[in-house]
């Protein structure tokens, strides 16, 4: 169950980091805003740090770091796939 929480936090983190990029802001908000970029970056990185903390506290450094590493890779990949799907839908 704990795995799901940390994975969800990673997903939120990467989704926020994606929103902080110019390309996604252009697509979603039709314009790039510095304030928005900074806010989303802050949310994204905070979420990733929190997920790391939760993982390590729950599973210790060894297992925590390994799980965190796998979860961040998967979460980034899922966000990426979601963005592709979203863009394909928009362009239809």
């Amino acid at each position: 169950m704990m795995h799901l929480y940390t994975f969800a936090i990673c997903l939120v983190g990467f989704a926020a980091l994606a929103m902080a990029t110019e390309r996604q802001q252009e697509a979603l908000f039709h314009g790039v805003s510095r304030v928005r970029t900074r806010q989303y970056r802050r949310i994204g990185w905070t979420a990733l740090v929190v997920a790391l903390g939760v993982s390590v506290v729950n599973q210790g450094w060894g297992f925590g770091l390994v799980t965190y590493s796998g979860q961040t890779s998967m979460a980034a990949g899922l966000v990426y796939l979601a963005l592709i799907v979203a863009e394909r839908r928009r362009s239809r």
């Binding site: 990029t21 390309r23 060894g62 390994v66 590493s69 890779s73 998967m74 966000v79 863009e87």
Partner: protein, 559 residues
Amino acid sequence: MTPANTTSVKPQGRGIRQTMSDLHTWAGLLVGWLLYAMFLTGTVSYFKDELSQWMRPDVPHQRVLPDAAVVAQNVSHQLTTLAAGSPQWSVYLPTERNPVVNVFWRNAPTDVKGDKGGNRRGFEEATFDPATGQRLKARETLGGEFFYRFHFQFHPLPVLWGRWLAGFCAMFMLVAIISGVITHKKIFIDFFTFRWGKGQRSWLDAHNALSVFGLPFHLMITYTGLVTLMAMYMPWGAQVAIKTPAERAQMSAQLSAFPPPIKATGDKAPLASIDAMVRQAQARWGANDVGRVSITNPGDAAARVAVTRGEATRVSMSPQYLLFNGTTGELLDVKDNVGAAAETRGVMYALHLGRFSDLHLRWLYFLVSLGGTAMVGTGLVMWTVKRRSQLPDPARPHFGFHVVERLNIAAIAGLSVAMTAFLWGNRLIPADAAGRSATEVDLFYGAWAATLLYALGRPARRAWIELLWIATALLTLLPLLNALTTSRGLWHSVAAGDWVYVGVDLMVWALAALHAWLAIRTARHKPKLKTKPVRAAQVAAAAQTSDTPVNARLNEDRA
């Protein structure tokens, strides 16, 4: 990414990036086909035990894990007659993932000389049913072990040759990763970038994404892969520093989970209770965390029993064991830590194998590693995609291009066919056929060679599509074949709660779907044939589409 910042970055970065880009391209291409195979078979090896279970359908499904102490006692009792006179037995106790007892024992020295045509390896193996303590007659197969041994020593090549080849490939992989990171100048800006339907640009984006998301894993797996065999690749440090037998014994104690050998006295003495020794280990590590019981000189007065800790509860492969006097049952030694350097190696080894993983972590390992496989695959395909647009006449490519293109087809689509053929062989070769384990391996290589011939004989595009469809068909029909040839088809497995069998069947279908998708995408793809020289084609395209600035810059980004 805007055109303005691309041009402003270029003057400082171009030299080193260009060099690194060339290094990346050619280092990757040289070993790419073998790397792809190592990556894919290694990925599958995260489910080695499950695959081995699936490949031994004659071994019944075990619902509960029996007590390790009882099992060890029963099996060692059987071994006193089965392996009488052997200088060493190793009993691998059942785990949740591998519910049988695997036993290896060294042949008695006289046996080896007397038995000329027989077993030259010098050891025997057997499988026991933990519930009954009786020997299991399972079909002879390497199971998931084949993919495992293939991925680091290209079984059945001679072990030394295979491992050197794998190490060579891994070293190039490391070079490709580092030069790739240096080449990829917009790692953060392009982190979530994918441009659909832009030909070479899309391939590059996919390759980048697969590389960057899994970067911690790719670096870890390549480096730790080299570390697992470092004593073989770079023995000189140890050779210079360690000279006396005492020092050598000390080093092996740091690395090996087998206690130092001891001479037999020749006086007969019965073994003490193995049961009690395993219980002591269970009290220390936990009921299910006893991995192996090794008995040296059984039946002799100088018998020693080592009870080794399992792999499931720690991120380290460093040796941990309890050493007992085999005749009195007295605890002689507790080995529970090693020096810092040896522990570093132990942790890296464990990280590579991932045997400590629970189901969640194992799937993460599998999926990220599958991403790594796709990274190598996209890299290989990209080499041809990029060069096809620059060919003077795409219908008649030059020899080098032709070779790379065909090898790509056989290495990527062909490997899927070969690996599935191996599983088909497991179900179709009669269970009692002589040398069936080797026949399965032959089938794998035979199928792989056939796909190469096929790729050479067909037009490239048709060969991709057809081989992908063949892989799809073989994968789709595999669970049906399983249901026909064994009594453990999908519905039966679901009813019996045999989740390993259910998992393998469903996973095979998922992979079939993946191959079908790839085949359909390849079939739908319409290559843009450019018969004009490259520059003229770009100018012509510029008039028609707005993508051209992106495509034109490509050659500068990653020439």
